[in-house]
């Protein structure tokens, strides 16, 4: 077990270190200007210098990303449940879900700012929700729908109704699909929150740090902020993985193929 953990942590760390070293080396050797692509070492230095600002900004953005993520998940699951119950809705709504997904954040953010106001947090949360909702809705819907007919028949043989079947079969069956959508949605929520911040609102957030430093070509600060955002994204991704493991004990203990 311990072995396994080092085996899964070591390679990415190693690749990360090699990647950063190559980056540092390339910037040095090819004399790439720091105002275009700063060295990891300068980014690190800025990260230390600006820690207080960055930490605060990350926290503010994090709150929006996480709350938006949670609401988006809730909404996605709810809609998946509803469309599963009323199949007609599924045909009607899926194209709209695709259409919303094909609409870039940059188009949604100004509209949401008008709808929900610039000064509160909801317009930015709404952007996160719109982005997160799609993968959750599609995947969970698939999981609720693609149940083995045998399992349904078994429940019928117990004279169970639709609700019991939903609780006993469809929901557990959808869990792995749902978990997969979380993996996608978690990093998406961070990027969505950041991009939404480009379009206004309170200015003590990570997106503003990025834009205001990029506006002067202070890319070392911008990248330090991006590193924080990536960290936040990884954290949420990690939480998604942990939730997945905790909520589905039968998966890890049973899957011999996984090892």
């Amino acid at each position: 077990m311990k072995n396994l953990r080092t085996a899964s942590v070591l390679p990415p760390v190693l690749v990360g270190i090699i990647g950063l070293a190559l980056w540092e080396g390339a910037v040095t050797v090819f004399e790439i200007k720091e105002f275009l692509l700063p060295k990891p070492s300068s980014i690190w230095a800025r990260l230390i210098d600006e820690w207080a600002v960055l930490r605060h900004a990350t926290w503010e953005t994090g709150k929006i990303a996480i709350s938006g993520l949670l609401i988006g998940i809730l909404l996605g699951v709810l809609l998946a449940l509803i469309t599963n119950r009323f199949k007609v809705l599924n045909d009607g709504l899926t194209p709209f879900a695709i259409a919303i997904n094909a609409t870039p954040i940059v188009a949604l953010a100004p509209i949401f700012n008008v709808w929900f106001g610039l000064t509160g947090t909801f317009s930015n949360q709404a952007v996160v929700i719109a982005v997160v909702f799609f993968p959750v809705f599609i995947n969970t819907g698939k999981g609720l729908n693609e149940v083995h007919p045998n399992e349904i028949e078994l429940m019928h043989s117990y004279a169970s109704g639709d609700w019991t079947i939903l609780r006993e079969v469809r929901i557990p069956n959808a869990l792995p699909f749902f978990a997969n959508s979380l993996r996608l949605a978690a990093p998406l929520s961070v990027i969505a929150a950041i991009v939404a911040e480009y379009f206004g609102g309170p200015q003590d957030r990570i997106g503003n740090v990025i834009t205001s430093s990029a506006g002067f070509a202070k890319y070392d600060v911008a990248w330090a902020a991006i590193a924080m955002a990536s960290g936040l994204g990884l954290l949420l991704f990690g939480s998604a993985l942990v939730t997945e493991r905790l909520s589905m004990p039968w998966r890890i203990s049973g899957d011999i193929k996984d090892n």
């Binding site: 194209p95 609409t103 870039p104 955002a229 994204g233």
Partner: protein, 288 residues
Amino acid sequence: MTKRKALRTALTVLVTLILFVLFWEGYKWMGQQTDDHWPGTGFGLPVSTDDLTMPHSGDIFKELTDDIRAGRETLPMTVYLAKKAGFTFLEAAIGFSLGVIVGLVLAIFMLRWRFAERGFLPWINVSQTVPLIALAPIVVTWARLQGYPDMVGISLIATYLTFFPVAVSGLRGLQSPDSSDVELMHSYAASWSSTLIKLRLPAARPFLFPAFKLAATLSVVGSIVGEISIGTKTGLGRAILDFAQRYAVWPERLYSSVIAASLLGLFVFGLVNAAEWLVIKRGREVLK
């Protein structure tokens, strides 16, 4: 049978659309009556219903037929948006093709070396949390120094978004064949590359096509974002940016350009669907 199903789907979509418009107008009407409060209460509505915040759906559709000056000529909005969408589609197509290639190459690379899989997969995830604002200048500078038009830079941004689902799902697909299938190829003394071509790639198709669908819509999103980020003379992104700036004076235009972007997304989604049918399903229906 399938024809009937297609008809039914089209009908439900139409009905949903009508219901949505009715909801929009109904909500607007209610807000106008109650000065943006829930009827009979002091609670404000979440979205105010004035013509600036929520233009009439009819005005939005009417906007599509109205004329707009585009450079030296004046065109109906639909034609104007269609032209822009055509340009964006071109960028998206290049971005999509490159993204598919990059994604597949990465997937194959991770398939070949287990260490690469473990080492790179988390970073591929991290890559998607890096905002374009940090990448766009690098991409544009690089493209310009090579003497390429900015369209190349925009397509590269689209590539950056599209390679991700292809790499992740592609890897899963390439790993999907049963070990007995791999053993079969081994028993024929087939090389690693012929196993890849004759077994793994075809077996990966059911995983790849859903990824392609996602990648296709992402390539549109990426092109639009790239246009806004880098700046082009044309493209839907440019239209959205122009109209977003002028929301206060002409909100219908932003809505109509957003509708155009959504339709383009649906269109490329449909294209991949059709390709999937041609490549995987045609002639292979299980006869019951």
